[in-house]
Subunit: 198 residues, 2 copies
């Protein structure tokens, strides 16, 4: 994590920086030990020796804190609701366009590829990312899908998006790696649309 963490507005107070660092270190340890779902802001605060309110003050929700810990290049927990609440016929195109326009930014791409390499390349790295995706992304997607297959369909969405990230950004497989965003949206949008609505 080489980028500076996001700062709240206002003047820094004495000792604030070390408090933030202690919370980040505690959060990293709790996430690694217990996984995303079981980690709690309360336990993170206790490990850091601060009040839970201070964790929320500095970092917001547990998802925000996880985003800060992994230096998250994309925040589906914050960005998906608007796409999922929009035109139901445009959810597939909207998700693909959101992912591609976000990851096409060099800084996001750099951090995203590094995060995926860690999550996929090491056995220990996978469960934490899976926990975050399950809670903050798949849950949202499956709630807009009708019928008993909702959870399977949400993971089918994840499979196509994961493969798009792998081929376009991690492996840089041509020509999909340099195809204009809207051309990829035209091809992959209907795939996602079929998975969410049939």
């Amino acid at each position: 994590m080489t980028d500076p963490p996001r700062r709240r507005r206002g003047r820094p107070r004495a000792g604030e920086s070390s408090g933030r660092e202690a919370i980040l270190a505690a959060a990293t340890a709790e996430f690694e030990t217990h996984g995303y779902d079981a980690a709690t802001v309360r336990a993170i605060a206790a490990r850091a020796g601060v009040d839970p309110a201070l964790v929320h003050h500095h970092f917001g929700t547990k998802a925000d804190l996880f985003g800060a810990v992994v230096n998250a290049p994309m925040r589906p927990d914050k960005d998906l609701p608007a796409i999922l609440a929009g035109d139901p016929d445009q959810i597939g195109a909207g998700i693909v366009r959101y992912v591609l326009t976000t990851w096409d930014r060099p800084e996001v791409r750099r951090r995203g590829v590094a995060l995926l390499r860690t999550a996929v390349g090491t056995k220990a790295g996978s469960p934490l990312l899976v926990g975050f995706l399950r809670r903050e992304m798949l849950g949202q997607v499956s709630r807009v899908i009708p019928g008993p297959d909702a959870e399977l369909r949400a993971t089918l969405v994840a499979s196509q998006i994961a493969g798009l990230l792998m081929t376009r950004y991690v492996l840089a497989l041509e020509p999909i790696a340099s195809t204009p965003v809207e051309d990829v949206v035209a091809w992959v949008g209907p795939t996602i649309q079929r998975y969410v609505s049939d």
Copy 2:
């Protein structure tokens, strides 16, 4: 590589085992140095100090040799032709069924996940696998696709298959990880079919 290499038929000759090992070591070095496309059986033989005919005798084609080097869990170069030459309307289902029935075997899954973790998790591991996939898989698929978009469509196929391998086998994301093969074929087959035939 812990599994024994495949043996040609017949009695082993004195020194054969060390010759095979020398060829495998030379092939590993040539593939790593030059990539899959640029590596040649001639250069591998020269590096191993043997005649190129002996390389072919022990290992077959360059694709066979690469398969032996990476202990390949799946050989699309050998298995795809029959699927691609069959009923054009069944290519999508055929590819998905082939991938899943192959990877659902525990031994294939174990080696495949290890190979994907290496290929994705390390920057050095990616180009070699990409080179093999491009030459031995994408080339075959794009040749059966009509129109100027053939290469893009082939990489779209790769994106969905890569994501399926990631979610079902590497990340073991439920419920897609334990959904019966034919249910996944029914969902993902039409995606692949649309990418190859529209």
